[in-house]
């Protein structure tokens, strides 16, 4: 029976040996007012180093991870995290550098940030970059705060932000948090933005249109220039959610498509490991007209090549967080960009798109497509979406059941039930670091699940069987939430 670290605790055990006290042992009561002194120590565990290691090693073995097998989680770009990055990120010059060290003693770190800014600007096709936002959503918020500052600076007050109905949940959540009203724009037959719907919604009360291109259906919106024209015509900004950038590196750039603001997810496209839910980083690249409003500080370089952190930015929206951002993440993404270079990044996107279209073709096999038809029959970019309505209607198994049965095939299921536009959606993103055999293996697993369900749908409905725990009572957990050790 699995135990928490608190249930393993035995009074008197310890892993921490305090250093010898080398200053007078003045009683705490002498140094702090009685009212400020804690009565009972916090009930942290009492456990030795060997048992802490065994506990967390044991827990780790219950996790499926990217180094165990195929992880085609759509919109998450689960591509290999090069092991070099952990070694260079741990160099004392980076990991032991205090964020408030004087810039003249942090030139190596600032040089790295400056070069990363330059590379991201070149990849996005937008000249000015701030590395500060902590993740994609935080970058989205920065983008809308910039938009607000930009319009206020022009004496305008706009209230609405347009997001396509296929947008990722963080987009609308960000719009609300940035004080705007969400207005949904419909999706056309071909999976792109419904231009008529857009023209109808576009007005001078619209501050911004947030788009992902390729979008969350895995399709490149061919009307992007027209969309940009419509948006700019009403004076709104065009925001690029960079989660799908892995499809177009070296092939196309948001800046060239007319976007004003782009966020990158360094933990998707640029291989910062996902860490079970972070850390990540969400730098933003912006056009000239948005530059003045970028958060502070900005890394700048003077003519002698010396770097500094420029806080003196009067029109900046101010700080989004402490210090200058997730520097450890910058080190890993910078190492990735310097490892692959222009050619390698382009090859990465090409292979991601090739792998996605190949897997889509394998799953278009009649025996599968009948139950899992592709949502849009177009060449896809780095990911594609299937609908599970065929399996639901003809085999009586929902997309959830297919996902749970895949767990017994030791592959991670795709993203499910997103985008909401597609019924019983399965969003599949193989990435460029998967070998052909694993794509073939995934198609075989899907086929065998469907064939099995044709015989006995109960098997999938009660999957998984081989995992550390089977299906969990999520409703119960929400009704009577137990969110800490009693």
């Amino acid at each position: 029976m699995t135990q928490t670290v608190y249930e393993l605790s035995v009074e008197g055990r310890r892993a921490f040996t305090p250093p010898a006290t080398d200053v007078p042992e003045v009683p705490v009561e002498k140094l702090l007012p009685a009212d400020a002194i804690r009565r009972e120590p916090p009930a942290l565990p009492e456990i030795s180093e060997p048992e802490i290691v065994r506990h967390y090693n044991g827990l780790s073995k219950k996790n499926f991870d990217l180094d165990s097998g195929f992880y085609p989680l759509g919109s998450c770009t689960m591509k290999h995290n090069p092991k070099l990055h952990e070694r260079v990120a741990a160099l004392p010059g980076f990991s032991r550098l205090h964020p408030l060290q004087e810039p003249c003693y942090a030139q190596g770190a600032l040089d790295l940030m400056w070069c990363l800014q330059g590379a991201l600007a070149e990849i996005a096709g937008l000249p000015h970059v701030s590395l500060q936002p902590s993740a994609g959503s935080h970058g989205e918020l920065a983008g809308l705060l910039l938009t607000r500052a930009y319009h206020e600076d022009r004496g305008e007050s706009r209230h609405r932000v347009l997001t396509p109905d296929t947008a990722h949940g963080t987009n609308p959540a960000t719009v609300t948090m940035a004080g705007y009203e969400v207005v949904k724009v419909g999706t056309a037959e071909d999976g792109g933005v419904d231009l008529d719907d857009l023209r109808a919604e576009a007005s001078d009360d619209v501050a911004c249109l947030m788009l992902t291109n390729p979008n969350t259906l895995g399709l490149f919106d061919r009307n992007i220039e027209e969309i940009a024209r419509i948006v700019h015509e009403v004076g709104a900004t065009l925001y690029y959610d960079g989660a799908n950038l892995n499809a177009i590196m070296g092939r196309a750039r948001p800046g060239d498509m007319g976007f004003d603001i782009v966020h990158f997810n360094l933990h998707k496209t640029f291989t910062q490991p996902h860490g079970g839910g972070g850390p990540g980083a969400g730098p933003i690249a912006v056009s000239d007209r948005m530059e003045p409003f970028l958060p502070r500080p900005q890394v700048v370089r003077d003519e002698d090549g010396r770097f500094d952190l420029d806080m003196d930015r009067p029109r900046s929206i101010g700080k989004m967080r402490g210090f200058q951002g997730n520097f450890g993440v910058f080190v890993r993404s910078y190492a990735y960009i310097r490892s692959l270079g222009a050619e390698g990044l382009k090859e990465a996107s090409e292979t991601a798109v090739l792998n996605a279209n190949y897997l889509k073709a394998l799953l278009a096999d009649p025996g599968i497509a009948e139950y899992l038809p592709v949502a849009y029959d177009r060449t896809c970019m780095h990911e594609f979406v299937l609908s599970g309505r065929g399996a639901r209607d003809k085999l009586g198994i929902k997309t959830l059941d297919i996902a749970k049965r895949l767990l017994d095939h030791e592959v991670h299921p795709p993203t499910v039930y997103f985008p909401l536009l597609v019924e019983e959606a399965l969003m599949i993103e193989p990435t460029e670091t998967e070998p052909k055999e694993r794509l073939d293996g995934f198609a075989d697993a899907i086929r065998s699940i469907l064939e099995e369900a044709a015989e006995d749908p109960e098997i999938a409905r009660n999957a998984p069987y081989s995992t550390p725990v089977r299906r969990l009572d999520e409703a119960g957990a929400a009704k009577r939430p137990v969110v800490r050790q009693p």
């Binding site: 928490t4 942290l44 196309a252 929206i317 310097r338 991670h412």
Partner: protein
């Protein structure tokens, strides 16, 4: 072919054949001609692994880091020792590489760690409900402001000037988005939050009052009266706290604080020039459905076996979209794991021993330096003093291989000659005495 892909020429031919495309270029015909880049990216050529490693080592060597000087720099991030067992746990692929645990059956490791993290933060803060992590300290304060807005539907935030300058500025930046006014109350002459000013500042439109314990100058605030004054008109009390001193300080929850947030770097995370670390976010039970971010909950599987799941997801952006309590998706899971292991390693008695050692060394240091204190009151790990000739003092300290602390003048014009000195278990008496020796000349002119 880059070392991270596996598509050989033969693979490409086979895959293109199965797709029915003549070339990879054909797959990109979806992109209109006019927006194709049509040239190579202007980036340096790729390099072999050892060349990248050497290049990064050269960059790293151009930074003076905390093993190359005795640093008393604090102001939000502290030079605490990171025990080696944390390296060996957070570099395991099983923790380093998975995504957010959307499939609980194969993520029980990550989910149980979140549950254990939430428990530790609840114990430190004295509040029953904590989430699995937010980005970091200052943006956690902004998130608390947003929750107060959603809870109270009011328009003003009162924040003490004792709160970290980056937290105050992040609050203002985010508040301009979610439409709230931020009002600052000053510090009194002892470097503690001015109680009368708080009482005067709060009104019926005040959503929350934000305090910090210890405050930015290191002062241990008298939270009781401050919280009482702050909540007088129905606002929520928000307190940003430094986690290790909470080993011996009465937890904010005990004083009626509603939301306790804070920076988690000091709990087993690296300095890393400012990030990534983690922020923690704890609140009263009644706010559980208004909390931002992931929350792990205990449950059972179909066979009655114990398990953990992401719970109350209806708060979150991937379900409630524009009605979400916050837009956060990717947070700081791996850094929170380091914090969880650190707190287990420190343990119930260790955190008291460490916090007590820091308390004693901090008071010893303040006396040893013998300079005029800006905050003469109780301090726990950091204190502010006036240094008559600060520039010269900083220069002399540098030459002695010491980084004496943070120039307060950068954020507090009223303390232009102020120096903020931080203490950890690594700052030995010997090192404190060396800093004190530099102050002798200062003292004479003081």
């Amino acid at each position: 072919m880059s070392r991270y892909t596996s598509a050989t020429d033969a693979d490409r031919r086979e895959m293109l054949g199965r797709i029915g495309a003549a070339s990879v270029d054909e797959l990109f015909e979806e992109i209109p001609e006019s927006v194709r880049l049509g040239r190579p990216l202007d980036l340096p050529a790729g390099m072999a692994e050892h060349e990248v490693a050497d290049h990064l080592s050269r960059l790293a060597a151009r930074n003076r880091h905390a093993d190359e000087e005795v640093t008393f720099l604090g102001a939000g991030m502290y030079d605490h020792y990171v025990p080696a067992l944390i390296d060996s746990i957070i570099t395991r692929s099983e923790f380093l590489t998975p995504y957010t645990p959307y499939q609980p059956e194969i993520s029980q490791g990550g989910l149980q760690v979140m549950f254990e993290f939430q428990t530790a933060i609840s114990e430190l803060t004295g509040l029953p409900v904590a989430n699995a992590s937010v980005y970091e300290g200052p943006s956690a304060v902004a998130a608390a402001g947003y929750m107060a807005k959603l809870e109270t539907r009011r328009g003003r935030i009162v924040v003490s000037r004792g709160v970290h300058p980056h937290s105050r500025e992040s609050l203002v930046t985010h508040a301009r988005g979610y439409g709230m006014e931020v009002v600052e109350v000053p510090l009194d002459e002892r470097g503690a939050t001015d109680l009368a000013a708080v009482a005067a500042a709060v009104d019926d439109d005040t959503a929350c009052v934000v305090l910090q314990q210890p405050n930015f100058l290191g002062t241990v605030e008298d939270l009781g009266p401050l919280v009482e004054a702050g909540k007088a008109t129905g606002a929520l009390a928000v307190c940003a706290a430094d986690p290790i001193p909470l080993g011996i300080l009465r937890p904010p929850g005990d004083f009626g604080v509603d939301i306790c947030v804070g920076e988690g770097q000091s709990l087993g995370n690296r300095l890393d020039f400012g990030g990534p670390s983690f922020g923690f976010f704890a609140a009263r039970q009644e706010f559980i459905r208004r909390m931002p971010g992931r929350i792990a909950g205990e449950t059972t599987d179909v066979d009655g076996k114990r398990g953990f799941v992401l719970t109350l997801q209806t708060r979150e952006q991937h379900i409630r979209r524009e009605k979400a309590t916050h837009n956060i998706c990717t947070a700081q899971a791996l850094n929170a794991l380091a914090g969880t292991v650190y707190l287990a390693w420190l343990g119930r008695r260790g955190i008291v021993e460490l916090a007590t050692l820091m308390l004693r060394r901090t008071h010893y240091a303040r006396e040893a330096l013998g300079l005029e204190p800006i905050n003469p009151g109780p301090v726990a790990r950091e204190f502010a003093v006036r240094v008559p000739d600060l520039e010269d003092f900083m220069e002399r300290a540098r030459e002695a291989g010491i980084n004496p602390g943070y120039r307060l003048g950068r954020d507090y014009p009223e303390y232009a000659d102020g120096l903020l000195v931080a203490i950890t278990e690594r700052r030995t008496r010997e090192q404190i005495d060396a800093l004190a020796a530099l102050c002798v000349r200062e003292r004479v002119t003081a």
